[in-house]
Symmetry: C2
Subunit: 356 residues, 2 copies
Amino acid sequence: MSDFLLPRLRTLDPYVPGEQPQDRRYVKLNTNESPFPPSPRVLDTLTREAVSRLNLYPDPLARALREAIAAEYGLEPDNVFVGNGSDEVLGFAFMAYADETRGVTLPDVSYGFYRVYAQLYRVHPVIVPLNEDFTLPAENFVGRRGMVALANPNAPTSLAMPLGEIERIIAGNPQNIVLIDEAYVDFGGETCLPLLSRYPNLLIVRTYSKSRSLAGGRLGYALASPAIIDDLNRVKNSFHPYSINNLTMLAGIEAMRDRDYFRSCVEAICAQRDASARELAAMGFSVLPSATNFLFASPPGMDGLTYYRKLKERGVLVRYLSQPMLARHVRITVGSADQMRALMDATRDILKEGTA
Amino acid sequence: MSDFLLPRLRTLDPYVPGEQPQDRRYVKLNTNESPFPPSPRVLDTLTREAVSRLNLYPDPLARALREAIAAEYGLEPDNVFVGNGSDEVLGFAFMAYADETRGVTLPDVSYGFYRVYAQLYRVHPVIVPLNEDFTLPAENFVGRRGMVALANPNAPTSLAMPLGEIERIIAGNPQNIVLIDEAYVDFGGETCLPLLSRYPNLLIVRTYSKSRSLAGGRLGYALASPAIIDDLNRVKNSFHPYSINNLTMLAGIEAMRDRDYFRSCVEAICAQRDASARELAAMGFSVLPSATNFLFASPPGMDGLTYYRKLKERGVLVRYLSQPMLARHVRITVGSADQMRALMDATRDILKEGTA
């Protein structure tokens, strides 16, 4: 830290991404990536010819990409905003709708970045505790002052909230933006997309990083009323107008259009998830019903941190989150069949060691 | 604009990027892109295999890329920060070092985005007028309160400031960050890189968009003390940790390493620039001595807006900027020989029309 940094940023706690240790090759089940490569149509579109045009700026309006996304969801391009990963979309949304004059209401357990944005933008966060079973109490998100932000399905709990409860929150905050982060919705959540035409305060955030196999491409988007999209563009154009690079733009179009590939990946991940959940349960784990591409699981006879460490010693990385309510659990990405076999083998070894 | 947007953002004037009209094919000389494709090594590194790994997140620390940049400039990776275009790097720098408690000192004529950041972050800008000959009065940037930001060479004037004057500004602001935007330095400016080891307040910002032919890849970087780089990382990791996509990371490494290609492109652009400047001068234009990949030129017998419009009618786009001091000029990107021939033909036609 330099002597020049603004005093209020000195105490900032930045987000800590899932570790990428370099000491050995790990089975990486800690960042909820897809085990599948991007669609073959993505591979086909990123030609040498496309790369040779990188000397030219991208379309700052990202027209072709927004059209492809809109077409997929039965919307107009004016309903679509695109950003450099959904983190950037979230960052712009917080910038547009929250500051010290208006708080933001957040679940106590959710995507950790929401609190970081609140700190960065001097926003007072109102934190709503979860129920003991890790579900969100919808009634406590109603009638707030300022933006409400939550993930559905939620992370790291993997639980989906029924659409009726989401609607109750949106309807119960007519003066506020309600941001629903649907990063994981394709794996079994109910999207609130059908509510878009009825609620001008609804802002849906999505990502290409999970179900579209493009975490390395950095692409996220928002679906909302044209007025909200216009707000996000105002903020983006005051930060960096050319936020999406040319290749990601092309990749995003093809990944969206290839429905068959998308469906087959999602189905394979869900099948693997359910099989892995059963296998862990049979070993004595408590596993929450997942509507995502990860499992939130509590091992028998040890806390989450111990299990995380023992897995890491055996070359398997999962995510441990240190909030007290989460101390018994870890978050396990649903990887390929091979990766999950490695996880199960390591787990059996750990449990055997415990009883030896 | 929605009813939810923060009141202070309603009056924001976002940056307006160079137009990309879709009504016909234009000779595009309005955004200072390189007329050359990226290095063949960039084309070779973005293989189908590389694309197929886009399901995995990038390294949030961008180690390999920062090493490649550091190696090129004789620095350590800890001296290098990378961002999604230099606009993002500038955005993070303003976020880290300027707010309503500390102003920012800016030239009256410079890259238009500096003022937009000031608005976005509620920073009071102290505007220093240029001399009549468009040079910057170094003495008026000394002993300021808060960050000083300027481009060297400056845009849209194309003029370089001698290193001695830049040093005077840096030495004259020991309490403040001095941000020197060297977007165009490779085309003839003097870099202040040699000052880095002596001045802990110096922050140099660079881009791959101009001399490295990667405007469509979105990659910029900062060179500074490790403490400043740490500040920028704190801000970035509170906004979006995975800011650089995997393909741009690979492209950035190869574009930096291919010195021969870089030099041959820069030499060709400078030669074309000098020839075009002579040709315009012979037609009666007043052309400032350019240390960049563009010309700041004033046509004979008409103002900049008229010339811009007449060029556009003839299918040639240049940039007109509406600040009063710039009203007689346009900014013309140095394009390929063919593009410059089209500009000259259109210009001869316009001048002939004027005297007909």
